[in-house]
Amino acid sequence: MKIPINRKITSLFAAGIIIFATFAGSTFLVIKAHQEALHKSNIISKKVNLTGDLQFQVNRLLLPVNRYLITGDSKERDNFDGIIGEMSRIFTEIKTLSGDERWQAVAVKVEKDVINFGEKVVDILYIDKPVGNKKAQELMASLTLLSEALVKEVDGFHAIAEDEIKKMGEDVDRDTRRSNIYALIILGALIFFAVLLYYYLRMFVTKPINQLHEGADIIAKGNLGHRMNIKTGDELEYLASAFNNMAVSLEGTKEELSKRIFELYALYNISKILSTTFEAEELLKEIVKKVSSDFSIEDVLVMLVDDKTQELFVASSAGCLSEDVCEYIGGRKYKVGEGVYGWVAISGEARLIKDVRQEKNILPEEILRPEIQSMIIVPFSVRGKILGLLCGYKKAPQSFERGDLSLFMAVAEQVALALENARLYKETKMMAITDGLTGLYNHRFFIARLKEEINRAERYDRPLSLIIMDIDYFKHYNDTHGHQGGDEILIGFADVITKTIRNSDIAARYGGEEFVIILSETSKEQAIQMAERMRKIIEDYPFPKKETQPGGALTVSLGVATFKVDATNADELVKKADDALYRAKESGRNRVVAA
C-alpha cells in the first residue's frame, strides 16, 4: 500500500481529533446533564419552597378570620385580600412549575379546595356581629379542619417533588455512573491511541529510519552487499530503494575496479617477466603461461609472422590439454592475409569472437580444439610492423568481454615490447662480440672463447688446434685499390672462411688482415689439412682485381698450432701459431706452416 508520510500523519492526527472530539462531546453532554439536573433541582426546591409557602399562607389566612371573630373589624377583609392575593400568586406559580399530569391533577384538586376554603373564609368574614356568634364559631371550627385538609392536600405537591428528587438522584447516579464509564472508555481509547501512535511511529518511521541509518553505516563501512528491506510504502521505502540502488551501483563499480586492479596487477606481473630474461622464446613462454594462469584462460597462444614465408607460426603456447594438441598446434601455420588469423595479422585489427558457432568466417581448423567456444585475437606490432598475434581461447561462449580486448591489447603491447627488447639485446650482444666489417667474431671474443675451448679440451683431454692466417701483400692491394677495395677483400675473405669452416669451428678477425680459426676436436694433422684446404680455396677464389697482386693472386699465409702438442695455454698457443705464420711469410708466403 502506497501511503505518503504526510497522509499517514494527517490520518493519525484526524484519529486523534476524532477521539478528542468524542471526549469533548461526551464531556459536554455530561456537563449538560448535570446542568439539567441542577436546573431540575432548582425547580424542585422551588416547588418544595412554594408548597411550603402555600401551606404557610393557608394557615396564615386563619389569622384574620380569628381576629374578625374576636374584634368584628371589617379591616380583616383587607388582610384577607392581601393573603389571598399572595396565595393565588404562589398557587399560579406552582401550577406553571410543571406540566406533569400528576402535578396538574393535584393542582386541580388544590385549586378547587383552596377556592372552597377562600369562600368559607369570606362567608365568615361577612357574618354580621361575629363576636360571640355561635354559628360563626362552628364555621370557624370546620374552617380549621378544612385548612388542615388543605395543607395535607398541598403535601401532594411535596410528595411529587420528593419523588422527583428521588428520581433525579437516581438519574444523577445513573448519569454519573454512565459518565464515569464514558470517561473510562475514552481514557482507554486515548491510551490505546497513544500506544498505537507510539508503535505506529516506531514501526513505520523510527525503525525504518534507524534501518536506513544503520544500513548507510554498513554500506559506508564497505559492506556493499548489504540491502535494506523497508516496506513502509512511503517516502522511506523510496529512500531505502534509492540506497539499495546506490549500493548495487557501488558494488558493480567496486567489482569492476577490483577486476581492473587485478588486471593491472597481472599486467605488472607480466611486465616483470620482461626483466627476467632477454631470450625471446623464454619470454613468450613465460608470458603465455602468465596470461593463461592469471586471467584464467584455458588456452593462450603467441603466433609470430615469418618474414620470409609470410606465414604465421605458433611461437609459444600455454594451457593445452594434451601434448598432442600442443604438437598439433605447434605445427600449424596460417598464411598472412588468409583466414581469421591472417586477416588480423594484415589488418592489425583485434578480433573478439564471443561465440564461434555464430561466426561463419572461421574455419574449423582455425579453432584451436573442438571444445573452444569463444576466442580473442590481438595483433602486436613494433613501429607499425605487425610481429605476430596474441590469442586466447575459452570453452564457454560469451566468456570474453570488451574489457578483455583492451587487456589483451595491453598484454600484446608488452609482448611486442618484449620481443623488441629481445631482438635489440641479441643485436647488441652480437655487436659486442663481432667485427663490424666482416661479421666474424672480434679479437676479444676470440681470446675469451679460446680460453674456454682450451679449458674444455684440457678437462676432457681432447685435441684443439688454432689457425692464424694473414693476407699476403694486403698493403699492396690497399695502396693500389684504396681502403674501400681493401675492405671488400676483407669481407670476401670472411665469407670464404665462414663457408669453408665446419659448424663447430670458430672464425674471428684477429686484427687488420689477420684471421684466426679455433678448431675444436681437431688434431694437428687435421688442422694442417684444414689450413691447406683453406689456402687452396683462397688461392683459387676469384677475388676482384686479384691479378694486380704480386704473383697474380690473393693468397694467404697460415700458421697452425695445436694445444697440448705445441702449447699448454692459450697465450702460448697463439704465440706458436703466430710464429708458424711468421715462418710461412718468411719462407715465401701462400703456404701452411705448422708449429
Binding site: 377583609r77 383587607d78 385580600d81 389571598i84 398557587f91 399560579t92 385549586e111 369562600e119
Partner: protein, 149 residues
C-alpha cells in the same frame, strides 16, 4: 331694611335649602375617571363592569389597572350599581378568579386624593369618585358618570 330681614331670612333659608338639596342631588353622581393619557375616552357601564370583573384587561395596548376605595359607601354604591354585586359577592368572585386564572386583585386606595393621585400617575388606571368631590381635573379625565341608585 329691617322690615326686609324676615323676608331675606326666609329667602336665604330657601336658597340654602335649595343649595343643600341640589348639592345632595349632585352628590349621588359617581364619576369614572381615567388617566389623561389613557386609552379610554368613553366607557359604557358594561365595559366598566367587565373591567372591574377582571375580564377586560387591555385597552389600546395598555394594561388596565382598576382601583377601588378600600371600603365605604361610594365603593358599595359603585359595586351595586355597576358590578351588580355586594362586597361579599365581589370578594368571592375575585377569590375564585385569581385562583383559577392568576393575576392580581384590583388595587385599593383609602381616600379620594389617593385615588385621583393613583389614576393621574398610572396610564392604564381607572377609578371612580363622587362627582362632587372632583374639582381638580389635572392628569385625569371623566369617561362616564353614573347615577347612584
Amino acid at each position: 331694611m329691617k322690615k326686609h330681614i324676615p323676608t331675606i331670612i326666609f329667602l336665604s333659608s330657601f336658597v340654602a335649602l335649595g343649595t343643600i338639596f341640589a348639592a345632595n342631588l349632585y352628590a349621588e353622581e359617581i364619576a369614572i375617571i381615567v388617566n389623561e393619557q389613557g386609552p379610554l375616552t368613553q366607557a359604557s357601564e358594561a365595559e366598566i363592569r367587565e373591567i372591574y370583573l377582571g375580564n377586560m384587561k387591555f385597552a389600546g395596548g395598555t394594561a388596565i389597572v382598576a382601583v377601588h376605595y378600600r371600603e365605604g359607601s361610594v365603593k358599595d354604591a359603585f359595586l351595586s350599581s355597576i358590578v351588580k354585586m355586594n362586597s361579599r359577592e365581589y370578594r368571592l368572585y375575585w377569590t375564585k378568579k385569581i385562583f383559577q386564572e392568576g393575576g392580581a386583585l384590583p388595587a385599593l386606595q383609602n381616600s379620594f386624593q389617593l385615588i385621583v393621585s393613583f389614576v393621574s400617575k398610572n396610564k392604564g388606571a381607572i377609578g371612580y369618585v363622587l362627582r362632587t368631590e372632583l374639582t381638580d381635573m389635572k392628569g385625569i379625565k371623566v369617561v362616564a358618570t353614573i347615577q347612584r341608585p
